[in-house]
Amino acid sequence: MALIELKNLTKTFVTKTQSVNALKDINLSIEKGDIYGIIGMSGAGKSTLVRCINYLERPTSGSVIIDGRDLSTMSQKDLRQLRQQVSMIFQHFNLLQQRDVRGNIAFAMEIACMKKADIDRRIDELLDIVSLTERQHNYPSQLSGGQQQRVAIARALSTNPKIILCDEATSALDPQTTQQILSLLKDINQRMGITIVIITHEMSVVESICSHVAIIDEGHLAESGPVEAIFSQPKTDAAKRLIFRNVQKTDKLIGDRMVRIVFDGQQADEPVIAELISQCHIMVNIQFADTRNVGGKAFGQMILQLPEDHLQQDKAIYFLKEMGLKVEEVSGHAL
């Protein structure tokens, strides 16, 4: 049984003049312990989707099942109790400006009606986890963005949740701070076994920490599955647009015969191209490359322009296939 299950989830916003289908028939299973990335262009419906998971937005139809309980059958009171188990952090941190760091962390525990002494003890533990002990009496306006998000994470952790939902949690941060926050989240996931759902429009976030990814495009679920599978062989146009998003830049590409080789994580430290050149004595021209390191494995694609000689072309394709790469022929215009 999956921890979070979305079945035929649909959300339609009705205004006076029109109705907008924010989400259309989404089916998704998130297992306990996953770090599940939900990625899409802005306006794709990801924020609505994450708010349906804790019922801040009530779906128009379909169901959200958390830990075996269908949220549509729960009372408001039960939903509020459930939300103590499903914490959320936000793009703009959303801290209480008139409370200091300790007060902000205490907030979720006060709602959970914990005892004052227990709250204080728990705050000390959490300050240690997010390394903010020195800042405990500061107010949000005195903290940097990364520090504020760490306060938000401490608050989210305070009630020992099963799930943390992250709504563009790193989008307001610089790349270095983003990495700090992501590694903190990964650490929390590994040490405490908390399932994390990450909404983002940044591919790099999914690459650095997610185990699974769902691609949302115009309210539809385009593709979902383990990150490695989706990144190496995106099937839908929406997924390809996101993963190979830089390909369009090479539209000047013209040539005789070209192949796209796809790295799917197997050849991480093998110098494939160097071997092609040194062993087969075949010269290739790298027209385009977009590869990345995901958890120590290489993913991505490269487009090679092959030499004029047909025999050499076939030899190169054979060699690349032998190396375990996926090879497909492309024409310059088809890109």
């Binding site: 939300r83 959320m88 400006q97 907030f107 006060e110 709602i111 306006s141």
Partner: protein, 221 residues
């Protein structure tokens, strides 16, 4: 007027004015605060939208805000008699002052509460907070600075109203200004009351702004 008569007259005037202003402000807040919270919660974009209730309260507030205070003073004389037993004097004046100030105060508080970052309210909801919890732990504390500024402005406005009530038999400095300064041509008395009203307003303003600044945690030190 000789100085030794002026002093006790003015002390009495200041005392009555303070009494009317502060008691009226207190009652205006007792009525206006719940009204403002209901306005914020039941508005179409609120946490508990009840459009019909919102529109009724919104209309009532607007109607009372549109009536000029001097006319309201006269209009509510029967009610004033019923509540206070008479229609003149400081205590009686509190009735129209509260009726005029409560909708004003409600609007002030409403606008302060609406300034609270919707993201923080969403955070509270996502943490499982109920509506009363959001009101008392998020809306009011986060709006605190703005609420104090609003209270300062409201008290100043009510001080002005209380002076105006002197025209129709209210007590305090306003009455002294009108009965001595206007009816008996003692301009010097009128000037003294004006100076005292200015000083009172300054005291309210400086006190309120100092409190709001000292309690605001948003400014970097």
């Amino acid at each position: 007027m000789p100085f030794d008569k002026m002093v006790p007259l003015m002390i009495g005037g200041v005392r009555d004015t303070l009494y009317m202003t502060l008691v009226s402000t207190l009652f205006a807040y007792l009525l206006g605060f719940p009204l403002a919270i209901l306005l914020v919660l039941t508005s179409p974009k609120g946490l508990k939208p009840i459009p019909v209730l919102y529109r009724i309260m919104d209309a009532i507030v607007n109607i009372f805000r549109s009536i000029p205070f001097l006319i309201l003073l006269i209009m509510v004389i029967p009610l004033t008699r019923f509540i206070a037993g008479k229609a003149y004097g400081s205590t009686a004046t509190i009735v129209p002052l509260v009726i005029a100030a409560a909708p004003y105060v409600a609007r002030m508080i409403e606008s302060s509460l609406l300034e609270v970052d919707p993201g923080v309210i969403e955070m509270a909801q996502s943490a499982g907070a109920s509506i009363p919890t959001i009101v008392f732990k998020v809306l009011i504390p986060e709006a605190k600075t703005s609420l104090i500024v609003g209270a300062t402005i409201s008290t100043g406005t009510i001080l002005g109203y209380s002076a105006m009530s002197g025209a129709v038999g209210g007590g305090g400095l306003g009455q002294i200004a009108i009965s001595y300064g206007y009816n008996r041509y003692q301009t010097s008395v009128m000037l003294v009351t004006v100076v005292l009203l200015v000083i009172l307003m300054q005291i309210f303003q400086i006190t309120g702004m100092t409190i709001s600044r000292k309690t605001d945690k948003r400014t970097r030190e």
